[in-house]
């Protein structure tokens, strides 16, 4: 889920008229002292991370004056808290807190609706509150169209004996909090604590919001460039993978980097699954043999070959991996030749120098295995394909054996990729198809034409051209199946190249 920092969350609260302490997000000690000066009161300096419990690990400090604020900020900035390097601190007015309450909204799978939790006791985690003060909690199911109305909020709070002036502020806060959740399609919103100050004012002292990954596209104002569940900020590779998936609705491509700092021979593998359930089992099978996964990746839901190709390129860009293990549910409904072709193109371009075991069970599996094995004969490392009658466990076993046998080449040279010159090209959904005609003239097979499944190529004066309009090809008539390029490599004169940029895809 796309998590927002405390300061971002508080911006959203403010917009919805929920009072928050005055404050400023700072990246340097200097900015922190300036902010403290501006606030002109004692301040709290809070590390901006995705976790609660910052105070216990030195992520929060208090300062009486700007100089102190600068010193504390210096301490906190750059600190690593649970994988997370602190890049920003929030400097805000220190409240004199008399009482702490709690409110959250989450989507509940039993109620099948957003559920508001409110507790008269706040401060600690809700699990602890529920254990220690079960009677202090109320739970209320929200109607997604009408939200929480004023009278509903007041009726909810009737159970507690809250003083009139505070009661109104709290009930207004709850009404507005529901508005925030609905407006930003939050998977969860939590204000903990809601602070009641000595002066009798109610503030959101801390706040955490996570936005539904799938709804991020409707909220460009949040500036979320990466919407995935992670426990640390995305790596450059995570971001690159995400940019590939973001606007391409054909099939699913999910990628997370699990480990970054490893070297060759430390038993790290690139993992390429298909389908969540089967991928998890396949991961178990390979991990049982003492291997570690550099990444998790899943291409499923009938992705085009181009998507599988980019996934493979991204997996292979993790330099220290010793092998490439691909295995999903084993009996996929999708046409596995597309996966095979995507992998082949990537393996050829990288001149694959680590063993690969791929379980391609599912529709057209025999053809898929044949493509995978035959078309990669030229690469130095062994590539083995398996079908639905081979278990994930067996494939993990083969991976293990190949890794023991294969000695990677010392200096592996990647072949030159692409054509020397381009005589004809057309755009596809995410790239382009290119031809070099002097090679086509020498070619007797012209196999690109018949290997194009959607039939969008034809011969004109002995050379391939589009048989449909340029606009149609770009709109999706060209399915980026890679048939033309791979068949041409095998049976033609290498006059065809499907150009699918990865690096600068975004």
């Amino acid at each position: 889920m796309a998590r927002l920092f405390e300061y971002q969350s508080k911006e959203l609260l403010k917009k919805q008229n929920i009072p928050v302490p005055s404050g400023k997000v700072c990246q340097t000690p200097k900015q922190a002292s300036d902010a403290a000066r501006e606030i002109n009161k004692p301040v709290a300096i809070k590390a901006q991370t995705w976790f609660t419990g910052r105070a216990a690990v030195g992520g929060i400090g208090f300062a009486e004056n700007p100089e102190e604020a600068s010193g504390i900020a210096k301490n906190i900035l750059g600190k690593t808290i649970r994988n997370f390097t602190v890049g920003e601190v929030l400097v805000e007015e220190k409240l004199s807190i008399k009482d702490e309450m709690f409110a959250s909204i989450t989507i509940d799978d039993l109620e099948r609706a957003p559920v508001l939790l409110f507790s008269l006791k706040g401060g600690s985690g809700i699990e602890k509150i529920a254990r220690d003060y079960p009677e202090s909690i109320i739970k209320y199911t929200i109607d997604i169209n009408s939200g929480l109305r004023d009278f509903e909020a007041l009726n909810l709070l009737r159970k507690f004996d809250i003083e009139g002036k505070i009661l109104l502020q709290v009930s207004r806060l709850l009404v507005n909090l529901v508005k925030v959740a609905l407006a930003y399609e939050a998977r969860s919103v939590e204000i903990n604590p809601i602070a009641v100050t000595e002066e009798g004012k109610v503030f959101a002292a801390d706040c955490r919001i996570t936005v539904d990954d799938y709804a991020v596209f409707r909220h460009p104002d949040l500036g979320i460039t990466y919407a995935r569940e992670l426990d640390a900020p995305p790596t450059p590779l995570d971001k690159l993978a995400y940019s590939i998936e973001k606007d391409d609705y054909r099939g699913t491509f999910y990628f997370i980097q699990l480990e970054k700092n490893f070297k060759k021979n430390e038993r790290y593998l690139g993992f390429h699954g298909a389908g969540g359930g089967g991928s998890m089992m396949s991961m178990d099978a390979i991990q049982r043999r003492g291997y570690k996964l550099a990444n998790f990746c899943d291409t499923s839901g009938n992705p085009p070959a181009s998507k599988v190709y980019r996934a493979a390129k991204i997996i292979l860009s993790q330099k220290g991996i010793d092998g490439y293990f691909g295995s999903g549910s084993g009996v996929a409904s999708q046409e596995q030749i597309h996966s095979a072709r995507g992998l082949v193109k990537a393996f050829l371009e990288e001149n694959l120098n680590i063993p690969a075991v791929i379980r391609l069970g599912g529709n057209m599996e025999e053809k898929a295995v044949e493509i995978l094995q035959n078309y990669t004969k030229g690469v130095p490392a062994p590539v083995e394909g398996y079908t639905k009658d081979d278990s994930a466990d067996y494939c993990a076993e083969r991976m293990d054996e190949l890794l023991k046998e294969y000695k990677p080449l010392k200096d592996n040279k990647k072949p030159e990729v692409g054509l020397k010159k381009v005589d004809y090209e057309f755009e596809t959904v995410t790239g382009s198809v290119k031809f070099q005609y002097d090679l086509c003239m020498k070619c007797s097979s012209k196999i690109c034409i018949e290997s194009c499944e959607p039939n969008i190529l034809k011969l004109e004066n002995g050379a391939p051209v589009l048989a449909v309009s340029v606009a149609d090809a770009k709109k999706g008539k060209c399915t980026e199946c890679l048939g033309c390029e791979l068949e041409c490599r095998m049976h033609g004169e290498n006059g065809c190249y499907v150009d699918l940029p990865v690096e600068d895809f975004a």
């Binding site: 799978d109 609706a113 389908g275 178990d284 999708q334």
Partner: protein
């Protein structure tokens, strides 16, 4: 009989002219599903697999008559509109294939389903297949493969993973255990018909003698199934495997539904609860079919 889909159910495909819509309509028709119409706004008059295309569901209904089921293949941002359109037009079962449907959209679909008395499967589902009866969605991919992979019999399958639905179906058939209906409930955190709803249908289905369930960490679907067994609402043998044992807390591997929040929905808790009420839970996925064969053999 089977659950959810049989030969007589009249099926509509929304988004029939798109890449997936076309491919899957072919599968459905060739497998014997009674697809009677399709719709894509602006494409009225076209035909896909000889099936007439209309602009809206209401229009299709006026032209071809009542519709029992709609299968949706439109891009995720358009799913809510399509599902509400079908439900308000009186369609009682909506199958939502696409992945990445915003959760608040699903909540709204859920709300309208209650108002209109409709049900929905998914989102993010491979669909439903009732052996030799029909298929909704994309289970099997091609009719010819679906026919060879899945043999007819009396075991129902319900699964939270699409690929695993197919795998279980194939591996069971391979060891001679035939199937009634396969249901992929969908991989998202909120789905229209979670395991317990499917289980209740299997209980009433004369063609189903036992059920194989693939559960996952996260949510409380499997615990609810255990409740059904305990209360006597489900009485047939249940054989289950729960995936995601090795997953880290809070980390998501692919299925949005498979995320453990706090202690709820843990692997351990699910296995324990199911065993408590007498369900069979296997520790290794590969034991699922043999174990099922033995249990079904004794029935």
């Amino acid at each position: 009989m089977a659950i959810l889909i049989d030969k007589n159910k009249r099926v509509l495909v929304q988004g029939i002219t798109g890449r997936e819509g076309r491919a899957r309509t072919r599968l459905m028709v060739e497998y014997g599903t009674n697809v009677i119409a399709g719709c894509t706004p602006g494409k009225k008059g076209e035909k896909v697999e000889n099936i007439p295309v209309f602009n809206t569901v209401e229009e299709a209904k006026e032209e071809v008559g009542d519709i029992d089921i709609s299968v949706i293949f439109v891009p995720a941002p358009l799913v809510k509109n399509a599902a509400l359109e079908a439900m308000y037009a009186g369609v009682k079962l909506v199958v939502i294939i696409p992945d990445r449907v915003p959760i608040y959209d699903v909540l709204e679909i859920e709300k309208v389903s209650r108002i209109t008395g409709a049900r929905f499967i998914g989102p993010n589902t491979l669909g439903i297949l009732s052996v030799e009866n029909g298929v909704l969605g994309m289970i099997g991919g091609r009719a010819a493969t679906a026919s060879t992979w899945f043999k007819k019999g009396n075991v129902g399958v319900t699964s939270r993973s699409g690929g695993i639905t197919t795998s279980i179906g194939y591996y069971l058939s391979r060891v001679g255990v035939g199937l009634s209906t396969l249901v992929h409930v969908g991989g998202d955190a909120i789905v229209g018909m979670p395991h317990p709803e499917v289980i209740k249908l299997f209980e009433k289905d004369d063609d189903t003698n036992a059920v194989v369930m693939f559960g996952e960490i996260g949510s409380s679907q499997e615990e609810q199934v255990a409740d059904l067994i305990e209360s006597g609402e489900f009485t047939k043998p249940l054989i289950s495997f729960i995936g995601g044992k090795a997953a880290k807390k809070g980390t998501r591997f692919s299925h949005a539904g498979a995320i453990i929040e706090g202690d709820r929905g843990s692997h351990e808790g699910k296995v324990k609860r199911l065993r408590e009420v007498g369900a069979t839970v296997v520790d290794s996925f590969d034991d699922l079919w043999e174990t099922t064969r033995k249990i079904v053999g004794k029935l």
